[in-house]
Symmetry: C2
């Protein structure tokens, strides 16, 4: 085993000097912006100094190099010290720090990947460690590379359960390339954090969650050098450095005091405080350079991934779209080693199990911890290392909505697949029914929302999602339904299919998933009475094919009926309203679930909530009556 060599005094002083330089730049930047969190930066100054200029291996001029160690600033409000560290490293111009939080500057209030040295946006607390887990899992199991992952958390955010989901995950998968650093500065935003400076409780919690844990003085650079070195030696366990620090450390009459969260230093005090800090710097012009990383990670492969064979279904076959998802993902896994799958102990329901069986070494079981599953998937997908698909019941993505919201800010390309949508799941009842997922995902700005209605289009949705930038959500259904399209049918984002039409269509009916099939049944019944309707499968709800919808509406007397297995707000119906809202003369009638549903047989529930064929028939007739 390697033995530890204490850094020489010059290096230690250099690290101390850098810590104070980082403090100074954090204070200057937040004074210039007249907002921000200088005291949250000051507690982390020695931690940042040692991490960036002693422990971590990276190329300062190429922050997103695939071989670099990763760093996640989970306590995102300490952004100024992150920016200051990259200024000290030479990547950010020091003068640019003074443009913090300004409209023409990418140094925002909280870090985002607009900056090359940021992999995931932070600022909603408790999310960094899950993403770091995904990066560390990828480094260890997929890239099989030596880069390591460091994540700095605040003590306040340790109240977030998502942190403990990540803690459990990291130890279960023995992520010994992962180090969490807890900056325990005692003070939250509005009062002290619950554990204050009770370092032993932190130690016990971390150890009980399976982590190698060191409690250290977070302002002692020598102690930090040693603990971080020890972390590199440990095998089979992630390491947590629990650092006792003081908020506003180094700032007289501010350090460790209440009511300084998120406040810049007052103008009448800043000069003296900066002078105090400067006075402690022994070699202001000396810079320390990080060690270079080992070159053992290949560049990301960005070639498109195509289904190795067309969908193997015949028209009229019965197949649930959730099951088609599993088959599709397994095929995509065959096409590229970059495809990875994740699930939250629902793999036998979402059918991600088909992928797991085909590619066991690329499947990550995340157990019943959806927030962490989404964060891990986001982490896996950073720097284009993998093409990640994470699945669970669509309803349970509501558990991770904050993570999904943040994933958009992170410019993530993660793919999320939700099964068991709507009342058509039947007996399990409302807790298992996704009825707000379309609303949820539509309101995520980078998100593409697929809602395939048969097995063939599901396979194409998976293929398209793998190659589409931004977040992709695929909504799959539990019941079996007929295959509607031939294997060679082409699908594109924002391109609807007109699945039933004639020269004399009276109404345009738009359904998706089970309700598209109900619409087709309704069309058959109406046709037998001599009434023709046009039926549209939108395929993607976002982007929605406004052109096809508007032209169909125009061809059918301006009449549209939407029918969806979703609440009336934010789903298919409102997406259609949005598409036609500026078109005069189009009237949209919407059939949707309008109250909390209950248990029952799928078809009974479609009837009870007014979205079955018979209600579509009635709505069509009603449209005429008007």
């Amino acid at each position: 085993m390697a033995s530890y060599h204490k850094p020489d005094e010059k290096t230690l002083q250099g690290l101390k000097d850098i810590a104070n330089k980082l403090r100074i730049n954090s204070i200057k930047a937040t004074c210039a912006s007249n907002s921000g969190h200088p005291t949250s930066c000051c507690s982390a100054a020695e931690l940042m100094s040692v991490l960036f200029f002693h422990t971590m291996r990276y190329k300062p001029n190429d922050p997103r190099n695939q071989c670099n160690d990763r760093f996640v600033m989970s306590k995102g409000h300490a952004a100024p010290i992150l920016y200051a560290a990259w200024a000290e490293a030479g990547y950010v111009k020091e003068c640019e720090l003074l443009n913090l939080r300004k409209i023409d500057c990418e140094l925002e209030g909280h870090p985002t990947p607009k900056l090359a040295f940021v992999d995931v946006a932070t600022g909603s607390l408790g999310q960094g460690l899950g993403a770091a887990c995904g990066m560390a899992y990828t480094g260890k199991h997929f890239d099989k590379s030596s880069y390591r992952v460091y994540c700095m958390l605040g003590d306040g955010e340790c109240s977030e359960g998502s942190v403990w989901e990540a803690m459990a995950f990291a130890s279960l998968y023995q992520l010994d390339n992962l180090v969490a650093i807890l900056d325990v500065n005692r003070l939250g935003q509005s009062e002290a954090a619950p554990l204050k400076h009770d370092m032993e409780v932190y130690r016990k919690r971390c150890e009980s969650f399976g982590w190698n844990t060191y409690v250290v003085d977070g302002h002692d650079v020598e102690e930090l050098c040693k603990a971080l070195w020890q972390a590199q030696q440990v095998k089979g366990k992630p390491t947590c450095i629990v650092a006792k620090t003081f908020k506003g450390k180094g700032l007289k009459d501010i350090e460790d005091m209440d009511n300084w969260h998120g406040k810049p230093i007052p103008k009448d005090r800043v000069d003296q405080l900066l002078a105090d800090l400067k006075a402690q710097i022994q070699a202001p012009d000396k810079h320390l350079s990080p060690e270079v990383p080992k070159e053992d990670t290949p560049p990301a492969d960005l070639t498109p991934i195509r289904l190795p064979a067309p969908p193997a279904y015949n028209l009229g076959d019965k197949m649930a779209t959730r099951r088609a998802y599993g088959t599709a993902l397994a095929k995509m896994g065959q096409a590229s080693p970059r495809v990875v799958g994740l699930d939250g102990d629902t793999k036998n329901s979402t059918f991600s199990d088909v992928f797991r069986k085909a590619h066991p070494d690329r499947y990550i079981e995340c157990f019943i911890a959806e927030q962490n599953m989404v964060s891990v998937a986001i982490g896996c997908a950073t720097r284009d290392r993998t093409v990640a698909f994470a699945s669970t019941f669509a309803a349970f993505f509501s558990r991770a909505y904050d993570q999904i919201r943040m994933a958009a800010i992170s410019q993530s390309n993660v793919n999320l697949v939700g099964s068991h949508c709507g009342v058509s799941i039947g007996e399990d009842g409302p807790s298992q029914m996704a009825l707000e997922d379309l609303a949820m995902f539509r309101a995520v700005p980078t998100c593409t929302v697929f809602y395939p209605s048969d097995a063939v289009s599901t396979e194409r949705a998976v293929e398209l999602a793998a190659n589409t930038k931004g977040i992709c959500f695929i909504r799959t259904s539990r019941p079996e339904s007929k295959v509607l399209y031939p294997p060679e049918e082409k699908f594109e984002l924002g391109q609807a299919k007109v699945v039933r039409q004639s020269d004399s269509d009276k109404v345009t009916v738009i359904g998706a998933g089970v309700t598209l099939h109900e619409a087709l049944t309704a069309a058959d019944e109406l046709a037998s009475e001599g009434v023709n309707i046009r039926v549209i499968d939108p395929f993607t709800i976002k982007p929605l094919d406004a052109a096809t919808i508007v032209s169909s509406a125009r061809a059918t007397g301006g009449r549209i009926i939407t029918v969806e297995d979703h609440y009336k707000e934010g789903g298919l119906g409102e997406a259609v309203l949005s598409a036609v809202g500026e078109e005069p003369g189009i009237v949209v009638t919407r059939l949707a679930v309008t109250r909390v549903p209950q248990s029952g047989k799928p078809q009974e529930l479609l009837d009870l909530y007014g979205i079955s064929a018979k209600h579509i028939v009635a709505a069509v007739r009603q449209t005429f009556a008007n």
Copy 2:
């Protein structure tokens, strides 16, 4: 200290018999419905028997009596054994159990409060303990009563971080009237749970989170009686009973085996298995009665709560609606001791701190754990014990969307107040901006969505929310804005205010919060050019005042412009589209945020994202040009 007396052999045998009766009824019910989770029930049979027929004090014929001990079945998929327990207690008819999961039966797949013995719906895992914390906090600190709270969790759901948020909360607040029972049956849905039967790791985790912890044999009724008795003696700490159990216990060739999650017993095996269980019952006709509760809790007070004085603002005063919220809640607290406030370490930003200062004994600091905060608030509001208001940044309610979704199924009357909506918060950047909250809350079926635009209407929103059934969400804003209404102005749900109108209005503009004020600025500018517009303040986004909007649109040439500090999907604009979607001849132009925003000054960002007065002016002119 009281000393423990072992129950007599007859009682112990009675409890064993009941456990097997519960198993039998769980199996029969799931066979009758041909779906459900009998093996998840069987692991919990002795736990349920001892809890319901030895430990808990309640009135079997009055399950929602305020004096009863509470029971939360967090592992909601074990619903059949909960129903079986209430059948054994005499409240549910045994024959009704066979209607499990049927459309005309309230014994649904997962428990909901349609049943008087259920306080909160479960089925999305990991949520029961947080609600139980709210009930226990209420019992101890508000009701100051002797009822106790029991919550049964599965081991699989212990992967959910929300469980650990609740664990930290319960110990911090010394909830010694709370008992968690972990049914560690080893097996999850698709494979073994991560800790399997490693009882010592469970013990360490629970202890490190501050709980008095007993590891027991979950099938040994005597051991359970003793541990639950001990739990009653402990002061200052909640107790966790970590019970080692076997999934499918008592079912030959099924017990402790993989692939039996969520599967009814096959028809060809059920008779033999039922016979095996029956054979173990020594006194099939003997019933045990629970102890009655202490009558030390008054009935719930259901009288309406009114502001003790009208809003004390003058027209034109500058006041942020977030600040008006704090004042309003403090006043409501003065009006009724039932009003309680919760926050997640943002009280100095949401201004719930004003309430805390006025009523410190009715404020619950929940720290940075929004899921748990919402669950605790839901728990506090059960059985109408309190009128609970929980606040944080509106963006961070996305962290608790699953809890909010479930709150609707729980028929909860919880009130949630989200500050810092939209890009108008400015420098902090997108992670802190709520831009999907309206979409989120609109898609919750029981939810009323308030979006007050000045301090007076904010006070009235708080007053209305306190007295409105279902979930209420109040969206408050960070910037100061002018008071628009006199103190005596009346506000009602679904009643908009026309804040600017003339006989010659060309367009109806609908804004809310900061964008209403932008609309008024635009109106002034346009008026100076001789163009009049009608401006509407919707007050509630759900329900939305369709009548006023449609009649205004008709009076302004069918032209509507909506402007909102929210993403374009699911917010004000789509709510308006929904209101007018079936009205021919109305055209809606929508101004909204259409991409991930950034840091900057509030007014700069309103401009950058196209929702400021100048964009409204341009949109009005454009409407004409068409």
